[in-house]
């Protein structure tokens, strides 16, 4: 580890911290339907969308109406992308004449983008037409991010409102998020990305003869416009297979920093928006603090493990940090930082190959996802996942002192705890059960790239990442029909089981009366609460996943120290 490496992480985090309040304040204005400085330009577009879409702006929805609208939109979005991928050969903007995608891969990819996962069993540069990229994948990058944020906003309204039955209008939240939050940032930062060297064109790949006389195809496409929303919406699906490791998706250390900031910015801003909407910004900062501590814990371990390097390789006579699967322009610190940030959130973009990380370096992304991606998290999903943990923590704290627990003036009773537990328990069930099935079936073992404990880690990582809607991979694991279908199903339930559970939680809270805080009320904006919250998150995660992680990365770490290979 070097001083400069730590400076990178600290400067990055300081920028995120500085952006949290302005972004959160802006989003609070947007979702409370107030005028913003962009309204003169965007309000007319917004009204056109409502008119053409048949949306009544002032229609409020109960939680199940909100959930049904979200599910209906997702169903249409899934069918649309599936059909697009299955017919791209006959559609325009396909200069490479790429074929239609096979059925099970199209199924997997459509579910992957629908759920904000962006798991990549496809290789963009050799299987996706430009039309599929921009109007299929990048469109999903916008709307799936907006679906996550809209859901979180609805849950927050449930906490903020008293004795009402509605949580807002899904279509309005979706539209306002896309137009007022995602689009303006994408335009500005997207142009910056082009200036830094990211391609933005519709050319066919240009075959050139290199200086040494080899033929090389220079790939192209509308990359910058897709790259920016890929990070901002914590989507993570690369235009090309190597994702943000590829120099055309991440040409410089500066684009790398900006990509990292994009990944964290909205999730961080949402914590402030949350505090603002529940009329106590310290509640938002308490959640931010818990997230920040978990972030630095993860980064420290990953950076340390990668900087130490591979002792088996050192034995061959070379020295240095683990550069296998990393890029020279980023080096160890920026790669470890990216791996931590991309799995703290549900982004899943990578600037280095996690499969080639040291065992404990690879454990950090795995554990980040297993804890439920609640460190800023997926846009929206991070906040609502964290709120489920907060409700659980309040409940446990209540049990410890023997009082009916309250959160922000609402009594937390059986129904709320049931929905919160459901949201929290989806992750372990969907992660561990399919992993167990996969290791028992030949099809589950057929496409492994590594043997021994690392092979097990590849499987565990695949199901952890897909159900957490992350999308990063121990990418050695190849696609086959078994994984196409299993991970597809996993992504679907990982997204919507949690989203519906938290909407139900929001609905239950919205209907409650506010009770006055008393001397016995447990404060939820204090350092003690932050510590307790982290404790609950880590205990739930560790109790559930430690046995599985012990069979993968942890045992591999011990064996690597002994020089054992597989």
């Amino acid at each position: 580890m070097t001083m400069i490496g730590w400076v990178q992480a600290l400067v990055f985090f300081a920028i995120v911290l500085a952006l949290t309040k302005p972004i959160g304040l802006y989003m609070a204005h947007v979702f409370e339907g107030e005028r913003t400085w962009l309204s003169p330009v965007l309000r007319p577009v917004e009204l056109v969308i409502y008119r053409l879409g048949g949306v009544r702006e002032d229609d409020e929805m109960p939680w199940y109406g909100y959930a049904l609208a979200m599910l209906a939109f997702s169903l249409v979005g899934f069918l649309y992308l599936y059909l697009l991928l299955r017919t791209q050969k006959w559609l325009p903007l396909n200069p490479q004449h790429l074929d239609n995608m096979p059925t099970d891969l199209a199924w997997n990819t459509a579910l992957s983008f629908l759920t904000n996962t962006n798991w990549q069993f496809y290789s963009g540069e050799s299987s996706m037409s430009y039309l599929s990229q921009m109007s299929g994948l990048a469109w999903h990058n916008f709307v799936s991010a907006a679906v996550g944020i809209a859901t979180a906003v609805a849950v927050v309204r449930g906490i903020a409102r008293t004795t009402v039955s509605t949580l807002g209008n899904f279509w309005v939240d979706l539209t306002r998020c896309c137009l007022y939050v995602l689009l303006p940032i994408s335009i500005v930062v997207g142009l910056f990305f082009v200036a830094q060297g990211m391609p933005q064109n519709f050319h066919a790949y240009q075959t050139v003869t290199s200086v040494s006389g080899f033929s090389q195809a220079i790939t192209g496409g509308p990359m910058a416009s897709q790259e920016v929303i890929k990070e901002l919406g914590t989507n993570g699906g690369g235009f090309v297979n190597a994702n943000s490791a590829a120099p055309n998706e991440n040409p410089t250390p500066l684009t790398n920093l900006v990509e990292l900031i994009l990944i964290f910015s909205l999730g961080a801003g949402l914590t402030y928006m949350y505090g603002r909407m529940v009329r106590d910004t310290r509640q938002g900062w308490a959640i931010f603090a818990a997230m920040a501590i978990l972030f630095f814990a993860g980064f420290s371990v990953a950076y340390w493990a990668e900087a130490a390097g591979n002792p088996i390789v050192h034995h061959l006579g070379v020295a240095g940090a683990n550069m296998e699967g990393k890029e020279c322009r980023f080096g160890i610190a920026a790669s470890s930082l990216f791996a931590t940030v991309t799995t703290d959130t549900s982004c899943g973009a990578v600037n280095a190959m996690h499969d080639s990380f040291m065992p404990l370096g690879g454990l950090v992304p795995l554990a980040n996802m297993q804890l439920g991606e609640i460190v800023f998290g997926g846009v929206g999903s991070g906040l609502y996942g964290m709120i489920a943990f907060v409700v659980l923590t309040v409940f446990i704290a209540g049990l410890m002192v023997g009082r009916t627990p309250e959160y922000l003036g609402k009594k937390i009773e059986r129904r709320e705890v049931q929905f919160a537990l459901l949201a929290v328990l989806v992750t372990p069930v969907l992660c561990l059960v399919p992993t167990a099935i996969a290791v028992l079936l030949p099809a589950g073992l057929a496409t492994l790239n590594n043997a021994g404990p690392h092979g097990f880690s590849e499987i565990l990582y695949a199901f952890t990442s897909t159900n957490a809607n992350n999308g990063s991979a121990f990418a050695g694991l190849g696609p086959n029909r078994f994984y196409d279908i299993m991970t597809g199903v996993n992504m679907f339930f990982g997204r919507f089981a949690v989203a519906v559970a938290v909407l139900a939680l929001g609905g239950a809270l919205a209907g409650k009366k506010a009770v006055m805080a008393s001397a016995g009320t447990f404060t939820t904006n204090s350092p003690i609460f932050v510590a307790l919250l982290i404790g609950v998150i880590v205990i739930v995660g560790a109790l559930t996943f430690l046995p599985a992680d012990a069979l993968g990365p942890i045992v591999e770490h011990v064996l690597v120290l002994q020089g054992k290979t597989f």
Binding site: V11, V211, A475
Partner: protein, 189 residues
Amino acid sequence: MIKHLGVALRVTLVSVVIFGLAYPLAMTGLAQLLFPWQANGSLVVRNGNVVGSAIIGQLWTQPQYFHGRPSAAGKGYDPTQTGGTNLGPSSKKLIAATQATIAQVERENPDAHGAPPMDLVTSSASGIDPDISPEGAYYQAARVAKARHLTLAAVDALIAAHVQGRTLGFLGEPRVNVLELNLALDAPR
């Protein structure tokens, strides 16, 4: 639900037009207007021929050129098949490949001092990494100098002139763009 599906269909169509078509097309127009060289792939032209992209690494085999890192992209540096080896730290394949690469790099650079730097013997993440570390360049300097009948000092000086430092002094790592360095070697002095 039927009512929701109708709205969903219409909102999907409208939003695809705005975010899936108008946005990328407008961005392409702006990019082509403001930053045409970058937007079109940062192509490098020599004697009227395009010889590659400034941001994409290429395959080098001759002794008179600096070599890039091992690549897992297709048959090497294929931008249509980007990716890494995805071999884990305890992989027999990884260790055997690394051992073979070390032997090869040492064989190609008999006059270099010490062991090769780590980046020269490990595969990059993208398979099209355009850079090597400054140490990786200096390690190859003696070989390049010999093949070109230059002094080692002259080659070292050329490397020094092409080392890109950390951005803003703290971002990323110092590096050398291999294509840029090799073109400078070929340029008439």
